[in-house]
Symmetry: C2
Amino acid sequence: MKEFVPVLKRTKLFSGVGEDDIGVMLSCLGARLLFFKKGEYVLRQGEHLSDILVLAEGSLHIQKDDYWGNRSILGHIGIGEIFGEAYAAPESGMLLNDVIALENSSVFFFDVKRIITTCSSACRFHTLVVQNLFFAISEKNRSLVQKLDYMSRRTTREKLLSYLSEVAKKQNSPYITIPFNRQQLADYLSVDRSAMSNELCKMRDEGLLEFEKNRFKLL
Amino acid sequence: MKEFVPVLKRTKLFSGVGEDDIGVMLSCLGARLLFFKKGEYVLRQGEHLSDILVLAEGSLHIQKDDYWGNRSILGHIGIGEIFGEAYAAPESGMLLNDVIALENSSVFFFDVKRIITTCSSACRFHTLVVQNLFFAISEKNRSLVQKLDYMSRRTTREKLLSYLSEVAKKQNSPYITIPFNRQQLADYLSVDRSAMSNELCKMRDEGLLEFEKNRFKLL
DNA sequence: ACAAGTCGGTTGTATTTACAACAGAAAGGA
DNA sequence: TCCTTTCTGTTGTAAATACAACCGACTTGT
């Protein structure tokens, strides 16, 4: 577990906490580290959760499949990102989405009660972590609003442009790499893959952008 | 300001705190109470925010208008609800949406720094309020995910059904009242009003539901 | 190297939606 | 009360999307 302390140090949750202190907090917070093989479910729709999760290694998708096999991708989780935090609250109902490992992944589980209940002992940084948690959830909240903004666009083209330009803004470069292949991007934006593929090519022909696989250049 | 203490007592933010203690905390937290006339902007897109807001009186819409006048409604705020919390974090950028008063409204402003920075003085319940804030943001987060679920549906009918049945689940009754008129509901679900109106009538003719104005009965 | 599977692009058709325009009912103001 | 405005439903047409089917390029595993 200690091997991932440098990873944790760079996360929003432990921002401002030194590596030594993180090591102490791991036991103070009762952290557990679980490993998931590619394709395995980290969390399943309908489950109850009382932990906040941090991805230490690998990558994940938060997604949902309906009875007819239609998939909807809510988001992508990269190394160091927090997830599950919205469902860790005691009165929160069950999970609405699955979380699935895209590759072999390691995940930290922190019992939410032990985070928000400040312990009186050695954890000097406990208060800081609670604040960090607040900021992290705020940020997640904003990114959900951002996604609602993509999704509220009426046409596939508008959805693509608003998504891609937002990614470019975040990565601060017109050259962007997205964590989705075509089918996944379509599931993320809730559009038809073939129509989206078609639209992307039209936009390329019109000189709006260039792409190759999951790398795009906005013009 | 004191007149709204009973309202605050019933909010998520002050859950578990007695009225007397709320009175003390109002000054401890440096609360401000602002009044807005019907139609006025409470917050504007592009502004920066360092407060968490609680609606004491009236009702609000969180919405966004683009250059062509197309409106997108993110959500409705009722009495006692918290808003703005996602943008109060120091590193959060500017607001992505407007907040507008649907009727004459009163809004509490709480400086977020004074909430998350526990004061050493009299506020016995400060820690509780921080936890409440965490749960409130979690809940907001879940409702955003819920909205993304409506929005990910491909057809107007599916959007309507998923939204209305979710409201029925929340209100725990097949008779529901929604805080939107037709145009607002269309802006909330990001569909065309006339097409939606058409679809609603088809669904009524098929016996799926009944409605009159903003009151619906699911069958 | 081969076979099987995945991925991205293309096309045609049926379905669905957006848009515009209009009309009756209801609500609000003078 | 009358007039104006808002709200809701209706219709027709143009545009966009979903769906299915197919192909070639590329990957993966044996």
